[in-house]
Symmetry: C2
Subunit: 161 residues, 2 copies
């Protein structure tokens, strides 16, 4: 009955795996001389997938704060992998485009990613792997909903004023 704390509980294992994965990815990218961090790679991939979007939209899709994204984009821009162009429809906004130089990088990142994930998922069947991916997507969606709920609560308290 007494629920003993388990270092192998789902939450702990998830965080462990993510930490180790990030470290392994970092070593791989560094080893390949790509010169970016995992966070920058993730940003670049999202930027490429949403080419021509504004920063707010990309940030929302990535689930991070706009300011956090802005910092990543600064770095990617200084490396010549993305461009910020003014939005003709709204002079406050900038549209993000990847440069031709980014294409090769994204391909390289992708190769490292696939090779690494092949090693990491060794011993897991493709079906299970896909089930894990879907489950994690579900968890991610749940977590985003929880986040919004928690942000909504403090406002609800003040709504009475």
């Amino acid at each position: 009955m007494t629920p003993r704390p388990d270092p192998d509980a789902l939450g702990f294992v998830l965080i462990d795996a993510a930490r180790l994965l990030r470290a392994a990815f970092e070593r791989r990218i560094a080893g390949a001389g790509l010169g970016i961090t995992p966070g920058e790679a993730r940003t670049l991939v999202h930027a490429a997938a949403l080419d021509g979007s504004r920063q707010l939209d990309i940030a929302q899709r990535m689930g991070i704060e706009p300011m956090t994204l802005s910092t990543y984009l600064d770095r990617l821009q200084s490396l010549g992998f993305i461009e910020r162009r003014p939005d003709p429809a709204d002079r406050r906004a900038r549209l993000i485009f990847t440069t031709p130089a980014a294409d090769a990088l994204i391909r390289d990142v992708r190769v490292e990613q696939v090779e690494l994930m092949t090693q990491v998922t060794a011993g897991i069947t493709p079906e299970d792997r896909e089930l894990v991916r879907e489950s994690l997507k579900r968890m991610r969606a749940n977590l985003r909903a929880i986040e919004e709920d928690q942000q909504a609560l403090p406002l609800a308290k003040e709504a009475g004023r």
Copy 2:
């Protein structure tokens, strides 16, 4: 054939989910007024599970560097949740024990953890959830093996000298 980079690839989703989970756990623990960080909670749980071990053993079990653990333990010790006692068998080593005060905290952490994970895994069957946990454990083990391989490589290069 051309593998387009997918923001929903397993690795990205895993890292996303872990980031959001850590943030949600942090808010929960803060909300409950427990006064520790997720990393400290993880350390405490491991320390309790391995009560009376040396720091090196705990660090290895957690998969982090001894120095990183030492910093967590400093904090947990200053809060009165763990004790460092000299190892009678080796005066270089210290043995880690949790204090009675830690018991209540661990129970509270556990409650928060269970409640949060129930929300997070909403819509996932218990069987799938267990499969995800097992798969993640497998991935974690693979990642640790990869880590060791990569550390072994540079030495292998120098072995010829």
